[in-house]
Structure formats: structure tokens, C-alpha cells
């Protein structure tokens, strides 16, 4: 089976979010970049499926040269080869166009990615790729098993889950608990250095949107502490001040 996993290169979840250049650029100072946590789940499940059924696992990222350490980490976790589409990811449609092109070229049986990136939280690239390739797209997937040419999965819905069966090929946006995150071991890290990482060019520059500026939310005021023996005071505040009860 040929599997493609698309990953994002995003700030670590504990990062302090700040902007520079008059609020037009993300401030990378002191920020550690990681594989998107949802993409990491997709990658972990893909490694298990590749080990189970054989075949080849490719990881792809649309990004500039700075994302290569993140791709190398994916290789260390167990991907066989990597593709970097050499461009700043301008918007979701732009990214989906690149992925769809290289996914078609590679004739993958299964395309996985995270349910959303944790920077822009759009959660739309998998659906766009599905529509571009005329394949089913399913997200957010929390369980995925492959039997022959078909897959059984569980998709999270509000308040529960639904069970889905679909034939290959298809695209899934993944989330926990599809697999446990994998931590690269020394052998993985050593072999990642020599695994192929191809840099390819974009096939289209089309976009439908652009970010003009960023904003931080207003600072939160100090907490009002209420004595534990006077919970009635909390009820009063929720009623009269917050006007919720």
C-alpha cells in the first residue's frame, strides 16, 4: 500500500503567540516548531499500517526550507521518504492544490493528515484535496483499520461517533486516539539522515484568500476569589454581574 501523510510545521502548543512587523508576521523568536499534533497522530497510524501491510510511506509538507527538520523528524518516526513543496503556504486552497497534484502523481492508496493545523485551525485542506481528486474525504477520524481494499473507521461527531466503511483510495483528517504518538529512536534518527527528501516546485499559485494582519485578544482581568464557605456569593455574581443564571 502506498500511503501519503501531509504534515504541518507549527509552533509547539506551549508557545507564546506574538507578532512582528506591525502585526503582519508571526514572531518566531524563541518558538520551537513541531509536527502538527494531529498530523503526528496521522503519521503514527500510517507507520503502523505500513508495517502491517507493507508498502511505502511518504510524508509531504508545503513549506520553505525551514520546515526540513520537521520532515526529517517524520522520517525518523518511520516515513520512508519526504517531499517538500517549496513555497510559503499562502492559504488552504493553495496548499490543497499542491497536495492534490503530488498525490495524483504518486497514485497513493491512502492520504492522511491531521484534522486541522494548530496555527490556522482551518480543518479544510483534506476536504479540498478530496474534492480536487474526486475522492471521499472523511474527518475527524479517530480510529482507522484497513482490510484489503477497504477501510473501517470511526469519525467523531458532536456527542459521539459514527462508524464508516469506504473503499480505497480516500483521504482522512485524523485525531486522537487513532494511534499513540511515536517518539523517534536513535536508529530512526540515524536512518532519517540518509532517507530521500525531494524538494519540488509549486504547480499553481492560485489562492482565494490572504491574511492582512494579526491581532492578540485583549488581556484578561484579575480573577475574583470567593471564599469556599460562601458559595452563595458566586451564585450572586453569576446572576447579577455575569447575568448568566
Amino acid at each position: 500500500m502506498k500511503i501519503l501523510v501531509c504534515i504541518t510545521h507549527v509552533p509547539d502548543t506551549t508557545s507564546k503567540i506574538q507578532f512582528t512587523d506591525n502585526n503582519t508576521k508571526f514572531d518566531k523568536t524563541g518558538v520551537q516548531f513541531i509536527i502538527g499534533p494531529y498530523d503526528d497522530y496521522a503519521l503514527a497510524r500510517a507507520v503502523e499500517l505500513r508495517d502491517q501491510t507493507g508498502g511505502e510511506l511518504t510524508v509531504l509538507n508545503v513549506g520553505e526550507a525551514e520546515t526540513e527538520p520537521t520532515l526529517r523528524k517524520a522520517l525518523a518516526i518511520g516515513a520512508d521518504k519526504a517531499i517538500r513543496v517549496n513555497a510559503f503556504p499562502k492559504d488552504a486552497y493553495f496548499v490543497a492544490l499542491q497536495i492534490a497534484h503530488y498525490a495524483k502523481e504518486g497514485a497513493y492508496d491512502l492520504i492522511l493528515m491531521g484534522r486541522e493545523s494548530i496555527d490556522f485551525n482551518g480543518g479544510m485542506v483534506h476536504g479540498m484535496v478530496g474534492e480536487l481528486l474526486g475522492m471521499p474525504s472523511i474527518s475527524p477520524v479517530m480510529k482507522l483499520d484497513i482490510e484489503g481494499q477497504s477501510a473501517k473507521m470511526a469519525r467523531e461527531i458532536e456527542g459521539g461517533k459514527e462508524y464508516i466503511e469506504v473503499d480505497l483510495p480516500f483521504i482522512a483528517g485524523c485525531q486522537e486516539p487513532i494511534a499513540e504518538w511515536k517518539i523517534p529512536n536513535m536508529r530512526g534518527i540515524m536512518s532519517a539522515r540518509t532517507k530521500p527528501l525531494d524538494v519540488v516546485e509549486t504547480i499553481s499559485d492560485e489562492t482565494f484568500s490572504q491574511v492582512n494582519a494579526f491581532q492578540l485578544p485583549p488581556a484578561k482581568g484579575a480573577v475574583q476569589l470567593i471564599d469556599k464557605d460562601n458559595v452563595e456569593e458566586l451564585v450572586r455574581l453569576l446572576k447579577n454581574e455575569a447575568k448568566i443564571l
Binding site: 456527542g159 459514527e162 462508524y163 492582512n212 491581532q215 480573577v223 469556599k228 458559595v231
Partner: protein, 321 residues
């Protein structure tokens, strides 16, 4: 040009978040003109569809195909796309949700439409079309311009007040032209809590963390939630250990909630948990550790043992009714 709204429904009722999307579309139409038209798919009663009128829709198209009662992404996207063309819309508005996101993404390609998700305000339409959206899991906002003629806006909860004083919507049937391949992904069964307030839709959420010490103590959380008419949530460690189901996990990699009130019991407030709740209007934190980081993000706090404070709070709320 009309504005089309995609209505989702659950347990026979149109979702509140979808009615918020209709309210958003109505406010948008007051700004840019055009009629607000809604579309609902699958089994849903006439009485429910008419409700879209009070939120501001003039008309509802009902694609009554039984097979669309479940959320098959490709089929839903194609049916909504056909209604979009039929009414000559240039904007699609929908509530951000598990199904809404997936459907909107496919439609963005189909309709060559710029899609902006997690929209928190009405767009700025002077000299362009700029939308404010929440990014970095609620830690920042981005002003995003849509450059295409067609536009799709996935609206975040609480972006707008629900409108309830609109008129009556007319309901018209629409036959969507769907093929077998639109139903390639088959939903074999669904496992959904019934009769409960759905977490992402809830106006009040009560969540428990590891401080609850075990799943057997969740009655306390549920009693408080019941008294408040709230949904229950939990922190990631709690769903990881299996004390509570995954769909209750609130946080960076779980459900993001934006209720009017979020009550956190025995949750320390790791940055990943805060990322899932920072859209809340008010936050109450109950924790016995005065140094718990969650207090910094809270509006109201009680330093105390949850096992003492929570039952007392439940009683106090009951007494206040």
C-alpha cells in the same frame, strides 16, 4: 445575490449553532443586501424548518432524501452545492462543526470560493471583503481578505446573538441530483449520546479534571451540570485514562468550546486545556491548589476541595431558582 445557510440538525431539531449561522447571514444581508435562504438535508419536520424564519431566513430548501439524514460528507457537499447554484447565491454561511467543516471544504473547491473558518465577526466590506477569524486555537485573530467572487464563512459559536424575532420562512422541496459515488463512504452505525446537551453547542459547560480522583465521582459534576442545564466536559488526562469518553475532552486537541460560562473543577489549567476554553465569556475555577495556573485565566475562583465546594454550589444554585 442570495446568502445560503447550511442547516444541520440532530435528534429531529435544527441545531442552535445553525440558527446562529442564519442570524449571522441575516445581519450580513442587512449590510450587503440579498435574500437569506437556508438548506436542510434529510429527515426533518416542517415545524423545525420554519424555525429558520425566526432566525432571519426568508426561505428554506428541503432536500428530503432519506439517505441524507446521516452526514455523508460528499453527498451533503454536492446537494448544498446544487442549491447554491439554483438560488444564485454568492455566499454560503454555516456553523463551524465536525460535519460543517468537512462539507465546507469540498464546497470551496466546487464553488471556487474563498473559505474562512472560525469567523468571529461580520465582514468588513468597504473596499474589499475582510473577515476576522480566530486562529492559534483562540490565542489570536487574523484579518483575512477573501479575493474570490464566491465566499464561504464558517461561523464560530457566539460570533453573533441568536435572532428570534424574524418572520415565517417558506419551505420548498428540492430534488438534488446525487450519484452512487457521492455515497461511497457508508455510515454503518452511529453511537451518540441522546437527550444530552451537546458539548460544542452548550451555553454552559462543567468540566472535571484529575482532581476528581476517579470516574465514580462524576455524579457530582453531573449534578452541578444538571442544575445549570450544562453539558459536561473533561481534561485530556481524564479522557486518556478512560474515566470519560473522548468526545468530552476539551482542549487543544479535543473539543473547543465557547460557552457563556465554563466551570472547571479540579483542572490545573495546562496551556493545552486553556486553548480549548479561551472563547468562553466567563470562567469559574474550583481548585484546592491556589497556585493552579487556571486561576490566571478565570473570572471567578474558589480555592477549596471540590468534594466540599461542588455539592454546596449545586445546592446554592438550586436554592436560588
Amino acid at each position: 445575490m442570495s446568502i445560503l445557510v447550511y442547516l444541520e440538525h440532530t435528534e429531529g431539531a435544527v441545531k442552535k449553532s445553525s440558527l446562529e449561522a442564519v442570524s449571522y447571514a441575516h445581519a450580513l444581508s442587512s449590510k450587503v443586501g440579498g435574500e437569506v435562504v437556508a438548506v436542510a438535508l434529510g429527515n426533518i419536520s416542517f415545524e423545525e424548518l420554519v424555525k429558520a424564519g425566526s432566525a432571519g431566513a426568508a426561505k428554506v430548501y428541503h432536500v428530503a432524501d432519506e439517505k441524507l439524514s446521516v452526514g455523508i460528507i460528499q453527498a451533503h457537499a454536492n446537494a448544498v452545492g446544487q442549491v447554491f447554484q439554483k438560488v444564485g447565491a454568492n455566499t454560503l454561511v454555516l456553523a463551524k462543526s465536525s460535519l460543517g467543516d468537512a462539507v465546507a471544504a469540498r464546497l470551496a473547491v466546487q464553488l471556487k470560493a474563498g473559505l474562512v473558518s472560525n469567523v468571529v465577526e461580520l465582514p468588513e466590506t468597504e473596499g474589499g471583503y475582510t473577515v476576522k477569524r480566530s486562529i492559534y486555537t483562540g490565542k489570536a485573530f487574523a484579518e483575512t481578505s477573501i479575493t474570490s467572487d464566491n465566499k464561504i464563512l464558517a461561523v464560530k459559536k457566539n460570533a453573533i446573538n441568536l435572532k428570534t424575532d424574524g418572520g415565517e420562512a417558506t419551505v420548498e422541496k428540492f430534488e438534488a441530483n446525487l450519484e452512487d459515488k457521492d455515497f461511497a463512504a457508508k455510515i454503518t452505525s452511529t453511537d451518540q449520546a441522546t437527550g444530552e446537551v451537546l458539548l460544542p453547542e452548550a451555553d454552559i459547560v462543567v468540566s472535571g479534571g484529575r482532581g476528581m480522583k476517579g470516574p465514580e465521582n462524576w455524579d457530582m459534576i453531573e449534578d452541578l451540570a444538571k442544575e445549570l442545564g450544562a453539558a459536561t466536559g473533561c481534561s485530556k488526562p481524564v479522557s486518556d485514562i478512560g474515566w470519560r469518553p473522548h468526545h468530552e475532552h476539551v482542549g487543544q486537541t479535543g473539543v473547543k468550546v465557547a460557552p457563556s460560562l465554563y466551570v472547571a473543577v479540579g483542572i490545573s489549567g495546562a496551556i493545552q486545556h486553556l486553548a480549548g476554553v479561551n472563547g468562553s465569556k466567563y470562567i469559574v475555577v474550583i481548585n484546592k491548589d491556589p497556585e493552579a495556573p487556571f486561576f490566571k485565566a478565570a473570572d471567578y475562583g474558589i480555592v477549596g476541595d471540590a468534594f466540599e465546594v461542588v455539592p454546596k454550589l449545586t445546592e446554592a444554585i438550586k436554592a436560588n431558582k
